[in-house]
């Protein structure tokens, strides 16, 4: 029978062997990803050499030899040979970076301690705190009362901010906008720009697709004019030329001019982003909405826009991030946003040293990065959440 020809039959399953040392763990990962071919190996070695060349001095500058704030730390430490980043300088100018020229509270400025340092600028800090309290639940998916929350944030909160910062009522000292500055102004311009430009951009995008010739023409004209002009020109016109055309003695607030300029400018960009989303929708969606008997606004708000906007979340957030960074351009019209506050402090001779300016710029970069990076993370989360899947 066939049996006797079989020399060997395995009776039991061979136990699993560990993978060869060369294809698992760090070594395996490195072989697969870093040294898989000659060109890859060269790239890896070059990259490592670059990191070895750049990282130690960078580390030494930012951490190792840096001058940290503390008891008895003076500008002399920052001027010393071999000193790294002068963080003590950032610490001493921190209130200016955040609040600009905003006046200190007369009582709390004389007090000591952490609470006093918060209360010295309690009006601005209250604006920050309330804003965070309203914004976090608004952006947190799954929390209830979104409509109420949105009304509070978009309608009540701006009024609160206005009265809190400008004052002049309820016994608050009046603070002209020229005294606002630093991160406060950067956030105000960024937030107002974002909140105004999105709805305005949607309206403009719809207007551009409209069948009504006047609406369509106006929308196209608005978008093309604002998109064709550099933001710096818009701000410069608003700040230098506009006053010359105004009646004598009548001036429009500088910050307001910048706010309007930035908002309209980014609305034009937003309109084109949204239009991209509208055009990505198949014609069948419009027809389906129409066949259900929905009128224009209903079909737009229930069928078209939710899909269109979802498609262009990356584009929208891209515009938001660009807008947030563009806020630093208001510096050229004499508004002290965060970057300008850092720049002007870099001139301060009380902390004058070789690394003063570069430390200031590193600080500004980190702050901008933190805000832009969180916006980007949030948008990725929203994309995943809203991904109801047409992509199989």
């Amino acid at each position: 029978m066939a049996k006797k020809y079989l020399a060997y039959i395995r009776k039991e399953i061979v136990p699993e062997q560990p993978a060869p040392i060369a294809s698992k763990g760090i070594v395996g990962w490195a072989r697969q990803n870093l040294f898989s071919s000659i060109s890859n190996t060269i790239m890896t070695l070059a990259g490592m050499a670059f990191l070895l060349w750049i990282l130690p001095p960078l580390y030494n500058f930012i951490f190792g030899n840096a001058v940290w704030p503390g008891e008895g730390v003076t500008v002399e430490d920052c001027r010393a040979k071999g000193a790294g980043a002068c963080w003590a300088y950032i610490d001493s100018r921190m209130t200016f970076f955040i609040y600009g020229f905003f006046p200190k509270d007369a009582y709390w400025v004389t007090q000591e301690g952490f609470i006093a340092s918060i209360m010295t600028y309690w009006r601005v800090n209250a604006v920050f705190a309330v804003g965070t309290l309203l914004l976090v639940p608004l952006m947190w998916p799954g929390l209830p009362h979104k409509v109420l929350n949105a009304i509070l944030f978009f309608v009540v909160y701006p009024v609160f901010v206005f009265f809190m910062l400008t004052g002049g009522v309820f016994g608050l000292e009046e603070v002209p906008t020229i005294k606002w500055g630093g991160l406060t102004v950067t956030l105000i311009i960024g937030l107002v720009g974002i909140v105004v430009s999105l709805p305005l951009g949607i309206v403009l995008a719809l207007g551009r697709q409209s069948k009504m010739p006047i609406v369509k023409g106006m929308s196209i004209m608005f978008i093309e004019v604002w998109r064709a002009v550099p933001l710096i020109t818009v701000l410069f016109m608003a700040s230098v030329m506009l006053p010359l055309f105004m009646p004598v003695g009548m001036t429009i607030d500088k910050l307001l001019r910048a706010l309007v300029g930035v908002s309209l400018f980014s609305a034009a960009y937003m309109a084109e982003v949204v239009r991209g989303g509208l055009q990505a929708l198949p014609k069948g969606q419009f027809e389906a909405a129409a066949s259900l008997g929905l009128n224009y606004w209903k079909s737009m708000s229930f069928i078209i826009l939710p899909q269109a906007l979802k498609h262009v979340i990356p584009g929208i957030v891209n515009s938001f991030i660009a807008l947030f960074k563009d806020t630093s351009l208001v510096a050229i019209v004499g508004i002290f946003d965060l970057l300008r506050a850092v720049q002007i402090s870099n001139l301060n001779l009380d902390w004058g040293s070789k690394n003063q300016a570069i430390t200031g710029y590193i600080f500004a970069a980190v702050v901008f990065w933190a805000f832009c990076f969180s916006m980007s993370r949030y948008s990725i989360m929203m994309e995943k959440r809203l991904d109801t899947g047409h992509r199989n």
Binding site: G100, F101, M241, P243, L244, M246, L347, L349, G352
Partner: protein, 338 residues
């Protein structure tokens, strides 16, 4: 509708003519309760936020002096930071009541822009910085020296003119960026660094061994920095100009913010007239008779302002030099009050 258009056109036209047609700045200022003062967007010693986040500097103190004269309150000022491009437009449009922002007094600005300069708050000019160890005391000794200069500036042209006019050999080492110039000088690549004196002083203060460097007294260009008011409002011009004169006169008469109250009892008729003890020199300008007393009381005299912001005990560490009183061989001179 037609009326509306006419109104708009008229007001637009008036806006354009603001530089010539505006009058009564003092009335406007008194009505709103503060002076809108145009300052720089940041120059050490002249206008910069201090440690308490308030504007401070020589230019800022002039605004405070003016506010003291009008309101008896040095803080009745709001500051508008303006860059070089905006400054004259901001004046023409009435956005600011005066400019106190290191503006060089030149003929074309004085005669063509509808502006008036009130008086030189600071005589700046191109100077030279050398190492103390070099033993150089005058630019005339700079023959054969390596000179660090920023290229493409009037500084470069002024230096070339000066050295050729004095038949001196020199070896220019030029850079595009100011920071590079400073670094080259600090690293010892050149013997001399030249730019405006106030700029030299600001850069010197950042050196680790700042006391090892001196700025030569002699300057080779004229940069008189003066506050500016709109042409066509003589009352306001007078107030602005005599505020500066009061500062200088007070220093000449030895009146300081510390002793001004004592000085009220002085027998010197010049002091009496300045402080308003005798005669009333404020009323013709629309001010109170103790206008100058208020200035000195709140802000001090010219010398005090100078020492506070740019003098030898500040990071800028500038000597009085040409900014000394005429009695000490400088150029600061004020007509008498009588």
């Amino acid at each position: 509708m037609k009326n509306k258009i006419v109104t708009i056109a008229l007001s637009a036209a008036m806006g354009l003519m603001a530089s010539t047609a505006m009058a009564g700045t003092l009335e406007d200022v008194v009505a709103k309760g503060y002076i809108q003062c145009g300052v720089t967007t940041g120059i050490p010693g002249f206008a910069l936020p201090d440690a308490d986040n308030n504007w401070a500097g020589l230019d800022v103190d002039y605004c405070k002096a003016l506010a003291s004269a009008i309101f008896n309150d040095p803080d009745a000022v709001r500051y508008t930071p303006l860059n070089s491009a905006e400054r004259f437009a901001a004046m023409s449009s009435g956005e600011v009541d005066l400019l106190s922002r290191v503006t060089t007094w030149t003929m074309s600005r004085d005669t063509q822009l509808g502006m008036n300069f009130t008086g030189t708050m600071f005589y700046d000019g191109q100077g030279f910085m050398v190492r103390k160890s070099s033993g150089i005391t005058s630019p005339k000794e700079l023959s054969g020296a390596a000179v660090c200069i920023q290229t493409g500036t009037t500084t470069e042209l002024n230096a070339a003119d000066y050295f050729s006019a004095n038949n001196l050999e020199y070896n220019p080492i030029v850079f595009v960026d100011r920071d590079e110039v400073v670094k080259a000088y600090e690293d010892g690549r050149c013997d001399v660094y030249t730019t405006d004196v106030s700029g030299l002083a600001a850069n010197r203060s950042k050196f680790a061994d700042s006391s090892e460097h001196i700025i030569l007294n002699e300057v080779i260009s004229k940069e008189p920095l003066a506050p500016v008011v709109r042409q066509g409002d003589d009352t306001w011009f007078n107030i602005a100009r005599w505020t500066y004169f009061a500062l200088v006169n007070a220093e000449e008469l030895g009146i300081t913010s510390a002793n001004v109250d004592e000085m009220l009892g002085s027998d010197n008729p010049s002091v009496k007239r300045l402080l308003g003890v005798e005669g009333d020199f404020g009323a013709p300008m629309g001010l109170t008779k103790d206008w100058a007393y208020q200035i000195v009381k709140h802000v001090g005299n010219y010398g005090e302002i100078f020492e506070r912001h740019v003098g030898v005990n500040t990071p800028l560490a500038l000597e009085r030099g040409v900014n000394a009183l005429w009695t000490n061989g400088g150029l600061q001179y004020a007509p008498p009050i009588r």
